[in-house]
Each structure stands twice: as structure tokens, then as C-alpha cells.
């Protein structure tokens, strides 16, 4: 079971987390569609703090001895997926950027010729 201190600490972090995500959506720094993922992660954190037994059950189910290992494992997988996705998006953006730069160059050339 979680101690009261730990629970308060965890709730504070989650509140802080939600403030950041909500703020990003509010100030239009993040599209609502992609904020869903971050809200989901936040809700999962709340669920696990409310019902820590769930974590014990899950770790037994997948055969990981300690809960902390399970959490580290999950966090690592999530980060891996996330960084892969960012890498993919970054590459797509780079291509679009290069394409734009090429078109700008060609247009500049056409304008100079007309002068």
C-alpha cells in the first residue's frame, strides 16, 4: 500500500502534469487530437495511484517480479515508441522543408529572370 506522504506527493505531480498539458492545449501549443494521448497517460497514473493492487496483478500476470521493474519496463517501451514516432515525424518535416527550400530557389530564379 502507498503511504499517505507518497500519495500526496504523487497527486501533486499529477496535478502539475495536468496543468502543463491543459495549458498547452489552452494556449494552442498542442492540437487537441494529440493531447488525448497525454490525458490518457495522466488518467492511467491516477488509476494506478488509486488502485496500486492492479499493478501487482499485472506484474504477476506478465511474470515480472517487482512492480518497479514493471513500471520501468513500461516507461522504457513508451519512450521508445515515442522517440521512434518523433524521429519519423522529424524526417517527414525535413523532407517538406527541403521541398519548400527547392521551390523557393526555383521561384527566386524565375523572378530574377523576369526583372
Amino acid at each position: 500500500m502507498l503511504s499517505l506522504n507518497l500519495k500526496i506527493f504523487a497527486y501533486l505531480i499529477i496535478i502539475f502534469y495536468f496543468v502543463i498539458v491543459l495549458n498547452a492545449v489552452h494556449k494552442d501549443k498542442m492540437p487537441i487530437k494529440s493531447s488525448i494521448l497525454w490525458f490518457l497517460i495522466g488518467f492511467l497514473m491516477i488509476v494506478f495511484i488509486l488502485f496500486p493492487e492492479m499493478l501487482i496483478k499485472i506484474s504477476r500476470l506478465v511474470g515480472i517480479e517487482t512492480i518497479s521493474n514493471l513500471l520501468f519496463f513500461c516507461a522504457l517501451i513508451c519512450l521508445l515508441i515515442l522517440s521512434f514516432d518523433l524521429y519519423r515525424i522529424n524526417n517527414l518535416e525535413k523532407r517538406k522543408n527541403i521541398s519548400l527550400a527547392q521551390e523557393i530557389g526555383i521561384i527566386k530564379n524565375a523572378i530574377t529572370k523576369k526583372k
Binding site: I98, A101, Q102, I104, I106, N109
Partner: protein, 239 residues
């Protein structure tokens, strides 16, 4: 028949004017009309000033895109302006304009889609690159032979001519890394007709090669791997 010479230039202040003058002089003594376009790939030296001062037709890229994207800009320009043949020609003085006719001739005769200016055919060229690089080129060439069954000697040559069909493909899709060996392989794998003709190449006049000496082995390894992975890639499949 409209012919375009694409000259990518990144920090080539020492050689670019000479290269363009050679093309202009060559143009004068030929029956067919040849245009040129210099792609200034975000040079940080005086390349751009020289191009402006000498009234040279050039595309000024807003920042350094790298050799692949710079050359593709030339192909896009060729596609937009409806050119029938595009020739890649380095701005560093390595390539010899006198071979342009030899390069485009097989395309004009409608025999092939792409002609590669090769240092390793007919012993035309005195300068054949460093030993390490030659070994690398041979290995890439060997790999291509195994995978496609076709022999291509100078796979990394940046001196080549392509027809309209290939211009349109390159304008749409062109790899940014190791463009020459990858596109050469992709084209012959997809049954485009190619021909290698012997050309003479000079030691570069100015600037530094995009393939540095120490990087040669790394380059070869990367190219081989990229060629092997090409089947997974859209560029390899669609063309």
C-alpha cells in the same frame, strides 16, 4: 531537343566561373542548344557574389540542403521547364565539357534512359580517384552485379545524362544520401536502359569532395547497406 546542364555548387568560388565559362564556350561550337543552371547550395564563400557578378543563371537555395537535394532542385527545374535531357555536371572542375556530346548521344539516338560518364572504361581517364575509394567503388559495383545481374563500373560517378522519363522520376523522388549509386542501382533494377561511356576526369580544382578520404570506407559500407535495403524503400519499388 532541350538540354540542360545541372551544376551543383557548394563553396566553389575557385572553380565555378571557369566551369561555367567552359560550358558557355562549348555551347558556342555546337549545333544543339544547351542551357545550364547552377544550384548554389547555400555557399558561405563568395560563390553567390561571383554568380551574380558574372550574370550566370543560378538557383539560390536558402540554406545548405546537401548534394542530393541540390541536384534534385536541378531536376525539378528541368521538369518545370520541359527539358528533354538533363546532365549532371560538378562545379569543381572535375568533369570535362568535351564529353557532353558523347554522354547525350545514346539518349538522342533513343537507345537508353541514362548514360553514366565512367572513369573506368576505355582508359580515357588518367585520374581515377584514390586507391581506397577505387576499392570501395569496385565493391559497390560488385554488389550491384550480384543483385541485378548487370555490370556497372563507375557507380558513384556524378557525371551523367538522363532522358525526360528519368527527369520526371528524379524531380518527384530523389534520395538525399548517396544519390548516385542508389539511383543508378534503382534504375537498372527497374529495367531502365543504361550505358556507360568512358570520360576523362580531372583532379578537382577547388573546394573539398563531399566524400572525404577517411570517410571512404564508411561511405562504402553505408552505400552497400542502403542498396541492400532499397527493396524496402519506396524509391526502389515505385520506379
Amino acid at each position: 531537343m532541350k538540354i540542360l546542364v545541372i551544376v551543383p555548387a557548394y563553396n566553389e568560388e575557385e572553380s565555378i566561373i571557369n566551369t561555367i565559362n567552359n560550358i558557355k564556350n562549348y555551347k558556342k561550337c555546337k549545333k544543339f542548344s544547351i542551357d545550364y543552371i547552377v544550384i548554389n547550395d547555400g555557399s558561405t564563400d563568395r560563390t553567390k557574389d561571383l554568380l551574380v557578378a558574372n550574370n550566370i543563371n543560378f538557383i539560390d537555395l536558402p540554406y545548405n540542403l546537401g548534394i542530393g537535394a541540390a541536384v534534385q532542385t536541378g531536376y525539378k527545374y528541368a521538369s518545370y521547364n520541359d527539358y528533354d535531357i538533363a546532365i549532371q555536371f560538378d562545379g569543381d572542375g572535375q568533369h570535362d565539357v568535351n564529353y557532353i556530346e558523347k554522354l547525350i548521344d545514346p539518349i538522342i539516338q533513343n537507345d537508353v534512359d541514362i548514360v553514366i560518364g565512367s572513369r573506368f572504361i576505355d582508359n580515357t581517364s588518367d585520374f581515377k580517384s584514390t586507391k581506397v575509394r577505387q576499392v570501395g567503388i569496385n565493391m559497390i559495383s560488385f554488389l550491384i552485379k550480384i543483385l541485378s545481374g548487370k555490370k556497372m563500373m563507375d557507380v558513384t560517378s556524378g557525371f551523367r545524362a538522363v532522358n525526360k522519363k528519368v527527369i520526371e522520376i528524379f524531380a518527384r523522388n530523389y534520395p538525399y544520401d548517396f544519390p548516385e549509386p542508389i539511383t543508378n542501382y534503382a534504375l537498372i533494377k527497374n529495367d531502365f536502359k543504361f550505358k556507360e561511356v568512358g570520360v576523362s576526369m580531372h583532379k578537382r580544382v577547388g573546394g573539398t569532395s563531399s566524400i572525404k578520404f577517411i570517410g571512404s570506407i564508411y561511405y562504402m559500407f553505408n552505400v552497400c547497406l542502403s542498396i541492400l535495403l532499397l527493396d524496402l524503400n519506396k524509391f526502389g519499388r515505385n520506379n
